[in-house]
């Protein structure tokens, strides 16, 4: 099955139809962009290693991995939606409720833990919260047929409102054995959250990149009509992607409670960095499409950038500017490339 509907790389797909020159230049540009992004990543690492004290230490790299865990899990959840919903920024797949989802799930976890229930109950409650939010998104997009951008925006507001009601906009401290384990250091003095991120990425990548289901997600996102004609359950796959993304929000909520020793306000601020990270992930993939590993790389790219700036004692004010510039570059570059292909 997977062989039947295998998506030839988009860029290789076209040669027959279009003049060779355009394709070759498009191909070159794609290669340049792909290689360029990796070279930029490596160059930044080299520069920081040479100039920023402590940058190359195991402890610091572990720190960056650990600090990237929450945004990484969220961005990977968003990546699944981007894959299944298509990469059109306006009409394609997007889940704007992810950050609010994380906030509510964290609040649920902290509240349940404070009521005296054990970790198992709290974990189940947080994942259930995330999964439910994902299901609402799935219903709004697949059932009601609302554009994901608007549907998830509405759900985001509902979820943020629920979090306010639950927490009264206050900090809810929480301390459980699981939280202590997650916020401690693992082997080599590297934070446990770093291992969580790596393990989560491996599992997600295995499912999304190496199973028939994952391949079908790509098919649904890139060529919905072809996928439908091939007999794929397009609606169910798309709905499943939103539920998976919701579960990622619930999981990130648990990680956030461990990192902040409770649930705190202001989770909504995570949204834009996560969207940036997930979109940026495309440039780290072979075919310039969203991939789990690409998203991990872009999460770490942003993480190392922020970390290096602090180590170099450069004002953190610059970091958001650099992030914005990067996303602009990526979106314009991919848009231009796609136009060339068409």
């Amino acid at each position: 099955m997977s062989v039947d509907i295998q998506l030839a790389p988009v860029i290789h797909f076209e040669p027959g139809k279009i003049g060779g020159d355009t394709t070759r230049s498009g191909h070159l540009a794609a290669t340049a962009l792909r290689a360029g992004s990796l070279i930029a990543f490596v160059a930044i690492l080299v520069v920081f290693s040479a100039t920023a004290p402590y940058f190359l230490s195991v402890g610091n790299i572990g720190n960056v991995l650990g600090q990237s865990a929450i945004s990484g899990v969220l961005a990977i959840g968003l990546t699944v939606v981007l894959i299944a919903g298509g990469s059109n920024v306006v009409t394609g797949g997007i889940d704007l409720s992810l950050a609010a989802n994380m906030g509510l799930s964290a609040a649920v976890y902290a509240t349940v833990a404070q009521l005296g229930y054990g970790d198992a109950t709290a974990v189940a409650a947080a994942l259930l919260t995330g999964g439910l939010i994902g299901a609402v998104n799935a219903f709004a997009v697949v059932g009601a047929g609302i554009v994901p951008l608007l549907a998830t925006l509405a759900v985001m507001n509902i979820v943020a409102g629920l979090e306010l009601v639950l927490t009264q906009n206050t900090v809810i401290p929480a301390s459980t054995p699981l939280l202590t384990a997650l916020s401690s250091s693992g082997p080599f003095g590297i934070p446990a959250l770093a291992y969580v991120l790596l393990a989560f990425t491996l599992i997600a990548a295995a499912i999304v990149q190496y199973t028939p289901t994952g391949l079908r997600l790509y098919a649904v996102g890139e060529f919905p009509d072809a996928a439908r004609a091939a007999g794929l359950p397009v609606r169910r796959l798309l709905a499943g992607a939103f539920v998976a993304s919701g579960l990622c929000g619930g999981f990130a909520g648990i990680l956030s409670v461990s990192n902040l020793s409770g649930s705190t306000t202001g989770s909504g601020e995570m949204l834009l960095p996560v969207v940036v990270t997930a979109l940026l992930g495309s440039v780290f993939s072979r075919r310039l499409v969203p991939t789990v590993i690409g998203t991990l790389l872009s999460t770490l790219f942003v993480g190392f950038l922020v970390n290096g700036f602090q180590l170099l004692n450069i004002s953190s004010v610059l970091v958001s500017g650099v992030q914005g510039l990067l996303i602009l570059l990526v979106v314009s570059a991919t848009t231009l490339l796609r136009r060339q292909e068409a």
């Binding site: 402890g59 720190n63 650990g66 900090v171 990192n259």
Partner: protein, 336 residues
């Protein structure tokens, strides 16, 4: 430490005079100033890297404290590593983690939710990095520099009682008794009023709210003035901070009841402006000295690194601004 204590004592005594006699303001200013200069002679942070971690810099208080700390570290010859979390707890924790990896000679944390920052302050302490705090008490902090809220509460209460001639009804906003500084200030008001039998706190007390503090205070005071329409039936309005005072002052002015005076704490520039306006009902506002608090915290770091023992808490005197001395105080705070 001894010096610290005596300096504080003089400052407080001076403040007492200050609230009674406007002329004392100058003496107080010069005394505090000379203490800073004398302490600075022996202090040095040469070759030291001092981390300054701010929860945010979007409030008057933290911006002033943050900038003053950076400047003070530089002035003492050290290298500041200053990070601002923009009131985002996730960012705050990440920055603290990275700071711990950077192994500075000390970390100074400005504000922050205790349950969020405390585990990381503990990790810093475990890593052998001394932790000091500004305006947030933690068992993992060696020293906390903050305002003396007992002094603030007492000075404000004495000014109020003296202004109303020791008798009359006062209205009190008491919505945040759960916040320690507010509770201390309120308790001090009650302690002072206890010895003035003709002064009465009107029941029920009002509840100030966040957000929409100004609007809400305006509405509540307008309603209350209708309930007590007779001039002189209310002498003063007290609140533990000065944002409710802002709304109350506007309501009193709008109702033409300018015989009433309002009192608050924090030294927000807009309230100090009202105090300075001779026609405004704003009676007094106790201003904290955020920049001085920041400088003091850094001087404490220098003392600690020089081997001295620090007190648990260092109190920086607040400045009571009344109609007579408000321009003096504003100048000292670097406002207007």
């Amino acid at each position: 430490m001894e010096q610290e204590k005596s300096g504080r004592g003089v400052g407080r005594r001076d403040l007492l005079k200050l609230s009674a006699v406007a002329g004392a303001a100058l003496a107080g200013a010069s005394l505090t100033g000379s203490r800073t200069a004398a302490a600075a002679e022996e202090l040095s942070l040469k070759g030291k890297r001092i981390a300054i971690s701010a929860t945010g810099t979007d409030h008057f208080f933290d911006l002033q404290a943050y900038n003053a700390q950076i400047e003070e570290v530089k002035r003492l010859g050290g290298e500041p590593i200053a990070v601002d979390a923009g009131r985002n707890d996730g960012k705050l924790v990440s920055q603290l983690q990275t700071l711990i990896a950077q192994k500075p000679d000390a970390i100074v944390q400005i504000l922050g939710t205790l349950s969020v920052i405390d585990p990381w302050l503990k990790k810093a302490r475990d890593a052998g990095i001394p932790v000091l705090t500004v305006d947030v008490g933690s068992t993992n902090s060696i020293n906390n520099t903050t305002s003396d809220n007992w002094g603030i509460g007492k000075d404000l209460a004495l000014q109020l009682v003296s202004d109303i001639g020791g008798e009359g009804n006062i209205v009190v906003f008491n919505g945040f008794y759960g916040v320690t500084p507010c509770a201390i200030r309120y308790d001090q008001l009650v302690n002072v009023v206890k010895y003035f039998p003709k002064v009465k706190i009107l029941e029920p007390e009002l509840r100030d709210v966040i957000p929409n503090t100004v609007q809400d205070a305006f509405t509540q005071i307008t309603a209350l003035l209708n309930k007590y329409p007779e001039k002189g039936s209310i002498k003063a309005i007290w609140s533990a901070w000065d944002i409710p005072q802002l709304g109350a002052t506007q309501a009193v002015a709008a109702a033409g009841r300018t015989e009433i005076r309002t009192y608050g704490v924090d030294g927000s520039p807009e309230v100090l402006q009202l105090v300075a306006d001779p026609n405004s009902p704003a009676g007094a506002d106790v201003a904290q000295q955020p920049a001085e608090i920041g400088r003091t915290a850094i001087q404490n770091v220098a003392r600690l690194l020089a081997g001295q023992t620090l007190p648990r808490e260092t109190y920086v005197p607040a400045l009571l601004a009344n109609k007579a001395n408000v321009n003096e105080v504003s100048k000292k705070l670097g406002i207007g």
